[in-house]
């Protein structure tokens, strides 16, 4: 039995979510291999080879792998799958995009967003916005899996020394073309990897007012997140969204400001170690999951909190 983890990267460096996926793979009996498919991605393959517990790195290099387009990546992985019992990828937007296509090409089901490995074919995954945990058993020969990164502590990035083996690139499917990307620029930590997150909701009221949230985040060295309501209202970009269908996070400290706590938002943050809620409505559901609740006007309390942190 051998697992193949598909690395996520930008052709220069490995996305840390890959280390969470490898962590899940190491809980499955057998060897772990990592596939680095990209363009000019030799440094990434070299980095993957240093992950402890990885026995082999497969490297596929071609221009049409540069942006991990599912139409090109899926046939490559499906072609390699004969040698593997498990295929894993982090449940990032990139992983969620490609793995089901691989599964379909192999005529196997996919297990989405696993949070626990119970055996070679049995896993736990959240359903219904995390209000139910399902224990599921795959009946397929190859298990196609996406891994919820917050459920598996990352393995170390260095210490190993796996061999790198080049694999032949497949053809460009010619179905899709990368045009460009507008990535949110921020000097703050990334949401997915932050130790502290300060999130704002509808209660913040405007894009301008979000500066209050950002000031607190900067004081704490935190990432900034948001509820769906705040994103839909245009206060912040879409990639700030924490929730069932946005990002799932589990930082050491999550500060929810002006967020009522809809089921869909709670699904994305309730595994945080410590949750603080600041809301003027003492009946808000967010207080049911908060370790520390402060009932009050966020426009008064948040600046006061920034000041109190200086003391």
């Amino acid at each position: 039995m051998t697992s193949l983890v598909i690395a996520e990267h930008n052709n220069q460096s490995l996305n840390v979510a890959t280390l969470n996926a490898v962590a899940a793979a190491t809980k499955i009996p057998g060897d772990v291999h990592v596939l680095v498919a990209g363009h000019g991605c030799g440094a990434v393959a070299a980095a993957a080879a240093q992950i402890p517990g990885v026995a082999k790195v497969l490297a596929a290099d071609a221009p049409h792998y540069a942006h991990a387009l599912a139409e090109n990546l899926a046939p490559l992985v499906a072609g390699l799958a004969g040698g593997y019992s498990h295929l894993l990828v982090a449940a990032t937007t990139s992983g969620k995009n490609v793995m089901p296509r691989i599964a379909a090409l192999l005529d196997v089901a996919q297990l989405s967003d696993i949070i626990e490995v119970l055996g070679e074919d049995t896993f736990v995954r959240p359903i219904y916005a995390g209000n139910v945990l399902a224990t599921v058993q795959s009946l397929d020969k190859v298990k196609a899996i996406t891994v919820r990164t917050t459920a598996f502590d990352p393995v170390a990035a260095t210490g190993g020394s796996a061999a790198v083996e080049n694999v032949a690139a497949g053809p460009d499917a010619g179905l899709s073309q990368f045009v460009g990307e507008e990535l949110t620029k921020s000097s703050r930590p990334e949401l997915a990897a932050a130790n502290i997150i300060v999130s704002g909701g509808r209660g913040v009221g405007s894009a301008e007012n979000f500066k209050i949230i950002e000031a607190l985040a900067d004081k704490l060295g935190a990432a900034v997140g948001a509820s769906r309501a705040a994103v839909d209202a245009g206060y912040v970009p879409n990639d700030y969204q924490v929730g069932q269908t946005g990002k799932v996070v589990a930082p050491q400290l999550y500060v929810a400001v002006g967020i009522s706590g809809a089921i869909q938002h709670l699904a994305g943050m309730k595994d945080s170690k410590v949750i603080v809620a600041i809301n003027k409505d003492e009946e808000a559901p967010i207080f049911q999951v908060a370790d520390y609740g402060l009932v009050g006007d966020l426009f008064k309390e948040v600046p006061a909190l920034v000041e109190a942190l200086d003391k």
Binding site: Q137, D239, Q288, L294
Partner: protein, 249 residues
């Protein structure tokens, strides 16, 4: 260009799901069901493309028990032209849904299939990608904007770091994310009109698709509940608790 749009009958988004007491599944008895919210966005996008003169007929498809007719009627009240129900009382997992949709695509020959990016019940986020893989089509998943041009479609996608733009060859599969559009409210006269629109029913066997589950549900359980927290009086107490008790700052 004909558009096929897939809609799922799912638990209403305001309802909190609970496991049955014996852990055999989720308790859906007397629970309010609605169209999966992402599928409403998919239907809305199809209608907007039609209104913009970019699309012709819109065919709504649902897979499941007879009650899914309601979901299809909702899609038709929004503006879909006709409906197809692939009727079955058996559990249908994403791979099987993708195979059923593929069979219908081969029959209907649409230029585009639009689906919600995920259903809020099983949270799988698979069917659109699987369908695209089975058909050998391009996939514009997690779409925030769809621009149809001549033989291609430009899709802005919601990705982890922001927005990514792809151009895809037609025919194509698109899956809708939250910011693609805001679905319209259904007006009463349209609900009446929708009752007269054609709704065909077929079975998985008619389409020659084996829907046997590939994943066995062993059990379900509630996640561990968070221990109850405390209310603090002011920011100073909060900072003290975070520093001395929780030790997270």
């Amino acid at each position: 260009m004909k558009i096929l749009v897939a809609v799922k009958r799912a638990i209403d988004y305001n309802v909190k799901a609970r496991p049955k007491s014996d852990g055999s599944g989720v308790d859906l008895a007397n629970v309010k069901m609605s169209m999966n919210p992402f599928d409403e966005i998919a239907v809305e996008e199809a209608i907007r493309l039609q209104e913009a003169g970019k699309a012709g007929e819109i065919v709504a498809v649902s897979v499941g028990p007879a009650a899914c007719q309601e979901t299809l009627r909702t899609a038709m009240a929004m503006g879909a032209d006709r409906g197809i129900l692939v009727q079955t009382d058996d559990e249908v997992q994403p791979l099987a849904v993708a195979k059923l949709l593929k069979a219908l695509v081969e029959k209907e020959q649409p230029g585009m299939v639009i689906l919600g990016k995920q259903a809020i019940d099983d949270d799988s986020n698979q069917t659109g990608q699987m369908l695209a893989g089975l058909l050998g089509w391009g996939q514009g998943t997690f779409a925030a904007k769809v621009d149809v041009a001549d033989g291609t479609v430009a899709v802005k996608r919601e990705v982890d770091g922001g927005i990514q733009t792809l151009t895809l060859k037609m025919p194509v599969v698109v899956t809708a994310d939250l910011r693609l559009n805001e679905p319209r409210y259904v007006k009463l006269p349209n609900i009446m009109k929708a009752k007269k629109k054609p709704l065909d029913t077929v079975s998985p066997a008619d389409l020659g698709v084996d829907i046997a589950p590939r994943i066995k549900l062993v059990k379900v359980a509630e996640p561990p509940a968070r221990a109850g927290g405390v209310k603090v009086a002011d920011v100073n107490e909060l900072v003290a608790k975070l520093r001395n008790e929780a030790k997270v700052i």
